[in-house]
Symmetry: C2
Subunit: 112 residues, 2 copies
Amino acid sequence: MEKDLFGICPFVTTQKILTGKWTLIIMHCLSERTIRFNELQRALPTLTSTTLTKQLRMLEEHGLIIRTVYNQIPPKVEYSLSDLGKNFKPVLDELEIWGNQYIDFIRNKKQV
Amino acid sequence: MEKDLFGICPFVTTQKILTGKWTLIIMHCLSERTIRFNELQRALPTLTSTTLTKQLRMLEEHGLIIRTVYNQIPPKVEYSLSDLGKNFKPVLDELEIWGNQYIDFIRNKKQV
DNA sequence: GAGGATACTATCTAATAAGATACTAACAAT
DNA sequence: ATTGTTAGTATCTTATTAGATAGTATCCTC
């Protein structure tokens, strides 16, 4: 993304944060509850641990999610939303509404 | 994006549509008014015509924007939102709010 | 002592996307 | 005849992402 607009324009800035291919569903999952790494993997079976780790790290770096490590064996790591992440909820809600509209739209197009 | 979730999950589906690096600001510009190719270029000076064309074509293919060609010389082509594109406005509004919050957040972080 | 559970990491390859550069068509004005 | 205008296209290179594969540490249970 352009340096000149990142940190200035809210659209360019947000787009940069949402570049990851899975960020929206991850954010959606976390908006429902705190969740463990493994649970996320099971929820998104087509996503490998390599990619999941990368996306989570990126969201953590951007301050949207919090990673909590429990010092036990076998390991336990929980992911939850930060305040900034929680404030993202209205975006997710609107995205869900629009996304479902879009899905209807393409279904109708195919039927004709 | 995964075929298994595209067209089913609203988040995965929307993320796919928003992959373009400039789609959000383009949608924002078009949500304010119908606009010509050249005007968009001037509004986004760091974006080349190659990339702008690609993004516009993609949004058109997905049914979010409408391309109107006026048969005159020099050429005139206008871009505007379809109904589906207009329905995207609430998402943009929430994104703008959150994006500005995020910008404040990183500014404060840097100051500390 | 073998296998399972968890949450990864390292390395590499493949796929996708962005951008640089140069060019085009057609007419109007100078 | 040359220049300007608009909305692109074609080609190529570079950058960014995703994903495949294999492996790690530590303890518990069988």
